[in-house]
C-alpha cells in the first residue's frame, strides 16, 4: 500500500519537475507562471494592461497575415462558384431590374412612410447626423468561435477608437467596441451571447433589451412587458438608454420562420462585413 503511494508520488513529481533534453523550463514552473498571468490579468494591473495592448496589436497583425492563405483559398473558391453561376445570376438580375422598375414608385412611397415613422418615434438618423464622429475600419479577422462572436479591426486608439463605440456595417448596427488597443480593436458582435443592447420596438415604442444567442437569426428580447405580443416584420432600433449608443439605430427585425415561429434576426450579416463604420455619440 505504502509502496504504491510512493510510486504515485514519484510519477507525479517526475511529470512536474522533469525537463526534456531541449526544454528550458519544467512543467511546474510553466503552470505556476500561467496561474500568475491569469491572476495578474484578472487584477488588471496597469503594467499588464499596457503589455497586453502591445501583445494584442502584435498578435492581431500576425494573425491577419497568417489567415491570408486561408482567405485567399476561400476567395478563389467563391470566385470559382460565382463564375459557374454567372449566367444564372445574369438572368436573375435582368428579371430583378424589371421588377425594380415596377417597384420604384413603391419604394418612394415606403421611403416617405419610413421617414414619417421615424419622426413619430422621435428617433435620430445615425450616419446622417453630422455631430457623430465616424471612423472607417477594415475587418482583420472574424472570430466564428462557438463561444465568442467578435471581429478584429485595423483601427485602434491611434485613430480615435475608444471602448463603447458603435460599429456599423451597411448602416446597420453590428456591435460595439469592447477592447481598443493602439493599432487594433475588438468588436463584440450583437449576435454574441454576452451582448446586451437597450432597444425600442417599431410602432409600439416598447423598451426592451436585445440579447445575442450566438446565431444571427435568433436574438432574444428581455424585459418585455408581460402582456406584450410581438408581431412579425417589425424593426428593432436602439433606444439610446445606455448613454453611449445613439437612439434610432436599426439593429434587427422580427420575422416568421419556416415553422411559423416568431424569431428575431439581424439586419446586417456581421460575418460578411469587410469594411465597418465606427461612431461615437457626441453629447
Amino acid at each position: 500500500m505504502a509502496e504504491s503511494r510512493d510510486d504515485f508520488v514519484i510519477a507525479i513529481r517526475y511529470a512536474l519537475l522533469k525537463k526534456g533534453a531541449k526544454q528550458k523550463f519544467s512543467l511546474f514552473f510553466l503552470i505556476s507562471f500561467s496561474i500568475l498571468i491569469v491572476i495578474l490579468d484578472k487584477l488588471s494591473v496597469p503594467f499588464i494592461q499596457s503589455t497586453r495592448a502591445v501583445l494584442n496589436d502584435f498578435v492581431y497583425e500576425v494573425a491577419y497575415v497568417v489567415s491570408m492563405p486561408e482567405k485567399f483559398t476561400s476567395y478563389l473558391g467563391t470566385k470559382g462558384i460565382k463564375h459557374l453561376n454567372i449566367i444564372k445570376e445574369n438572368n436573375n438580375l435582368k428579371e430583378e431590374i424589371e421588377k425594380l422598375k415596377i417597384g420604384r414608385y413603391d419604394n418612394l412611397f415606403l421611403k416617405t412612410e419610413n421617414e414619417s415613422l421615424k419622426q413619430v418615434l422621435k428617433l435620430e438618423s445615425i450616419l446622417t447626423s453630422g455631430a457623430d464622429k465616424i471612423v472607417v475600419a477594415k475587418v482583420l479577422l472574424d472570430q466564428e468561435s462557438p463561444y465568442l462572436k467578435s471581429l478584429l479591426i485595423n483601427k485602434g486608439r491611434k485613430s480615435g477608437v475608444i471602448k463603447g463605440m458603435a460599429v456599423f456595417s451597411k448602416s446597420y448596427l453590428i456591435g460595439t467596441i469592447v477592447e481598443a488597443n493602439f493599432l487594433t480593436a475588438r468588436v463584440l458582435l450583437t449576435t454574441d451571447l454576452n451582448s446586451r443592447i437597450p432597444v425600442i420596438l417599431q410602432d409600439s415604442g416598447v423598451n426592451a433589451i436585445l440579447a445575442g444567442t450566438g446565431k444571427k437569426t435568433n436574438y432574444t428580447l428581455e424585459y418585455l412587458p408581460d402582456e406584450f405580443i410581438l408581431e412579425p416584420n417589425k424593426i428593432i432600433f436602439t433606444s439610446g438608454r445606455d448613454g453611449f449608443l445613439t437612439a434610432g439605430l436599426p439593429v434587427a427585425e422580427t420575422y416568421l420562420n419556416k415553422n411559423n415561429e416568431l424569431k428575431i434576426k439581424a439586419l446586417a450579416d456581421p460575418q460578411q462585413a469587410s469594411i465597418v463604420h465606427l461612431t461615437k455619440r457626441t453629447k
Binding site: 528550458k24 491569469v38 501583445l55 492581431y60 479577422l141 472570430q143 468561435s145 462557438p146 454576452n194
Partner: protein, 171 residues
C-alpha cells in the same frame, strides 16, 4: 541550393511546432468554416499536445505549448493564460500517464485521453467562469470535448505515420 536545403530541413524538423502555432494564430476549431459540419468542431490543439507529450515529448517543447496558448487567448479574447494553463494541465496528465504506462496501446491511450481532457477542460471552464465576465455555452464545450476525444484515433494514425516517415528520413 544549400540555403533551400537548410530551410527545408528546418521546416521539416519543426513542422508540428509550425502547425501548432498556425492553429493558435488562426484560432482553429475544426470544421468551423463549414456551416453544415460546425457541429463536429473539435480542439486539435488538445490532440496534438496529448499525442506528442505522450509519444514524442522531445518534438513539442512545453515552452511552445505555453506560448501558443497565450497567442490563442489573445486571438480568441479570453483571459491571458487560460489556454496555456489548460494545455499545460493536459501535458501534466499526459506525462503522468506516460510514466505510469508500461506497454502503450492505442486503445488504452485513447481511453486515458478522457480524464486528461476532462481536467484540461475543467481548468478552462473554472478560469472562464471565475476570472472573466464572459459567458458561453457549456454544451458547446462538452460537444467540442466529445468530438476531440472521438477524432483522436484519426489524428493518432496521421501523426504516427508522419513521425515514422520523419524518423525514417532523419536516420
Amino acid at each position: 541550393m544549400k540555403i533551400f536545403a537548410t530551410i527545408k530541413k528546418i521546416l521539416f524538423n519543426n513542422l508540428i511546432i509550425i502547425v501548432f502555432y498556425y492553429l493558435s494564430f488562426n484560432s482553429f476549431e475544426g470544421l468551423k468554416e463549414l456551416p453544415n459540419l460546425i457541429i463536429f468542431s473539435f480542439n486539435l490543439h488538445m490532440i496534438i499536445v496529448y499525442f506528442y507529450i505522450l509519444k514524442f515529448p522531445d518534438y513539442l517543447g512545453l515552452e511552445h505549448i505555453f506560448l501558443a496558448g497565450i497567442i490563442n487567448d489573445v486571438v480568441i479574447g479570453i483571459p491571458l493564460g487560460t489556454s496555456s494553463l489548460s494545455y499545460l494541465i493536459l501535458s501534466f496528465f499526459t506525462s503522468y500517464i506516460r510514466n505510469a504506462t508500461l506497454r502503450s496501446k492505442m486503445t488504452s491511450e485513447w481511453i486515458t485521453f478522457i480524464p486528461a481532457l476532462f481536467f484540461a477542460n475543467l481548468v478552462y471552464f473554472v478560469i472562464i467562469n471565475n476570472f472573466s465576465n464572459l459567458s458561453f455555452y457549456y454544451v458547446e464545450l462538452l460537444r467540442s470535448s466529445f468530438f476531440t476525444f472521438l477524432f483522436f484515433p484519426i489524428f493518432y494514425v496521421i501523426f504516427n505515420t508522419y513521425q515514422r516517415f520523419f524518423l525514417k528520413n532523419k536516420e
